[in-house]
Amino acid sequence: MDDTAIKIENLTFFYPSEEEGQAPEDVLSGVDLTVEKGSFTAILGHNGSGKSTLARHLNALLLPKGGSVTVFGMDTRDEELTLEIRRRVGMVFQNPDNQIVSNVVEEDVAFAPENLGIPTPEIRTRVDEALKTVGMYEFRTHAPHLLSGGQKQRIAIAGVLAMRPKCVVFDEPTAMLDPQGRRDVMRIIGRMKKELGTTVILITHHMEEAAMADRVVVMSDGQIAMDGAPGEVFTRVEELEALGLTVPDTVKLMWELRQKGVDVPLDTLDVEECAKALAEHFKKK
C-alpha cells in the first residue's frame, strides 16, 4: 500500500506580472516535498516566503507552472480530477468570517456535502458528527454571525470535516483568534490526526503550534530551507532567526542559558519538558 498522501516534485509557480514586458518573479522555485498519510506537518516561513502559495497547490486552487503536485495518486493538473481532489483535501483559512455562508450553523456545515451531491440522511449524520468533533453540536441551530471568532472557526472546520477529507490544509487558522480559540483549534487538529487519521498540514506563525507537529518544514524565498522533526528544526536557533523566524520561548530560554555556559538541553519544546529539564539541572547539587 502506498503511504504517500502528497508528492510535490520540482514545483515552480509565479503570479502573472502586473507590468507588461516584465518577467514574473518565482514565488515557488523547485519545491520537492513528500507528505506521508496520517502525518501532521507544520509549514513555517516569513510573510512572502511562498507557504500559502504552496498550500493552495494542494487542492488544485493553484496549478503548477512547472513540476507537479500529486495528491493521493492524482495529478492536480488533470482537470477531470479537480473535484475528486477537492473532496479529499479540505482547506481552512485564516478569517472565519470569509468562510461562513449560511444563517444557521448546521446548514453552513452541510453546504459542502450538499454540493458533493451526498444523499440527505447521510448529510445529517456527517453534519452531526462533524459538529461533535469540533465541540459545537449544541450550537447547531444558532446563527454563526453571533458566535465568537473561535467558535466560527470551529464551524468552518466542521464544514470541511463534513466532506470527510483525507487531508486538511490549515492556512494560519488561529491568526485571528484569542488564546482560548487557539487552544480549541489546536485540540481539534490533534483529534483529527489521532482519531480520524487525517493528514494535517498546518501553516502557522506560532512556533508553539508548530512544535506540536510531527514534522516542521521551513520555507524561505520560495524554497524549502529546513525540514525535520520539531526538536531538530527548533534547535537551529540562529538559522531560524536569520530567516526572520523565532523558536518557541522555552527553546529560546535554554539557548540563552547555554550561551552562558549552563549545561541544559536545547530541545525542550513545551513548558512541561522545559520545567523538568531545568528542575533536574538545578536540583543536582
Binding site: E18, G45, H46, N47, G48, Q94, S148, G149, G150, E172, A175, M176, L177, D178, P179, Q180, G181, R183, H205, M207, E208, G244, L245, T246, P248, D249, T250, K252, L253, E256, L257, K260, V262, V271, E272, C274, A275, K276, L278, A279, F282, K283, K285
Partner: protein, 288 residues
C-alpha cells in the same frame, strides 16, 4: 505617576437596545490613560475591547457614562469631537485593508489634510511619519504593491501623521511573521519614545503585551476585571485562564518550576527575565 490624559467614567454601551438582540458590551468601565504611558488592554474575543477603544475618539457614543480628554467630555460638542479625533489616533485591526490612495504619500497625507494643515506642514508630517515606520523609500509607490507588513506600517503612519497624543492600536501584530511583529513594535515604541505620546495596545497575545507595557488592564464581559503592573496581572495566571486568556509562557514555566521545587524570586514573564533569574541561581550554585 503621570496625570491622566484620557479617562472613561462609568462607561456603558448597549448595542441594539430594546430589541431581542440587545447586548451590553461595556458595563461601567472606569479607565485611565496616563500621559506618556504604555498601556496594554487584554481580553478575549467579545470582552468589549473593540467597543471600548471606539469610544476613545468618539467614533461611537456611550449609552451612559462619559469619556474625558483632559477633563473635557469629548462628546459635548462638535468641536470637542473634532479635537478628540485628532488628538487620539486609532489604528484598527488589519488597517492595511483601509489603504485607498494612489501612492503611499497620499495615503499618509489623508489625515493631516483633513486637519486643514498647511501644505508645508502636511509634507513635513508625512515624511516624519514615514520615518517612524521606515517607509521613506516607498512614498511614491502604490500601497497595493507592498507586502503585508509594509502596508500595515503605511496604515500606522497615516495615523501617526496626525501626531496624536494618544495612539491606540487594535491587535497591531495580528497575522504578521515574527520579524514583522518586531518591526511594528519597534516602530510604535520609537513614536512613543520620541514624542512622549501615550500608547495603548489592545491584544490577546500576552507575551507582546508584557514586553513593554507599564500597566495592563484586563477586560472581561464588558468590565475591568484586573488592572495593574504586568507582573501583578501575570501572577494571577489561573484567573486569566478562566477568562479564556493565558499567562505568558515564562510565567507558566516559573509556576511549574516552583511546583518542582525550584524557587525563583519575583514574577518572571519574559525570556530575558527568566534567563537572568536562572543565571543568578546558577551563579549561587557555583559558589555553594
Amino acid at each position: 505617576m503621570n496625570e491622566p490624559i484620557l479617562k472613561t467614567e462609568n462607561l456603558t454601551h448597549v448595542y441594539s437596545p430594546g430589541t431581542p438582540f440587545e447586548m451590553t458590551a461595556l458595563n461601567g468601565v472606569d479607565l485611565e490613560i496616563r500621559k506618556g504611558e504604555i498601556l496594554g488592554i487584554i481580553g478575549h474575543t467579545g470582552s468589549g475591547k473593540s467597543t471600548l477603544i471606539q469610544h476613545l475618539n468618539a467614533l461611537i457614543k456611550p449609552t451612559s457614562g462619559r469619556v474625558l480628554l483632559e477633563g473635557r467630555d469629548i462628546n459635548e460638542s462638535k468641536s470637542a469631537i473634532r479635537q478628540a479625533r485628532s488628538r487620539v489616533g486609532l489604528v484598527f485591526q488589519y488597517p492595511e485593508y483601509q489603504l485607498f490612495e494612489e501612492t503611499v504619500y497620499k495615503d499618509i497625507a489623508f489625515g493631516p489634510k483633513n486637519m486643514k494643515l498647511s501644505p508645508e506642514e502636511i509634507d513635513r508630517r508625512v515624511r516624519e511619519a514615514a520615518g517612524f515606520v521606515g517607509v521613506e523609500e516607498l512614498l511614491d509607490r502604490s500601497p497595493f504593491d507592498l507586502s503585508g507588513g509594509q502596508k500595515r506600517r503605511v496604515a500606522i503612519a497615516g495615523v501617526i501623521a496626525m501626531m496624536p497624543e494618544v495612539l491606540v492600536l487594535d491587535e497591531p501584530m495580528a497575522g504578521l511573521d515574527p520579524g514583522g511583529c518586531r518591526e511594528i513594535m519597534d516602530n510604535i515604541l520609537s513614536y512613543h519614545d520620541k514624542t512622549g505620546a501615550a500608547v495603548v495596545v489592545v491584544t490577546h497575545s500576552m507575551e507582546e503585551a508584557a514586553r513593554r507595557a507599564d500597566r495592563m488592564v484586563v477586560l472581561n464581559h464588558g468590565t475591568v476585571a484586573m488592572s495593574g503592573a504586568p507582573e501583578e496581572i501575570f501572577a494571577r495566571g489561573d484567573e486569566l485562564r478562566k477568562m479564556g486568556l493565558a499567562a505568558p509562557v515564562m510565567t507558566e514555566l516559573s509556576q511549574r518550576l516552583r511546583a518542582l521545587g525550584v524557587e525563583l524570586p519575583g514574577t518572571v514573564y519574559t525570556v530575558e527575565q527568566m534567563a537572568a533569574a536562572l543565571l543568578e541561581l546558577e551563579g549561587g550554585r557555583g559558589r555553594a
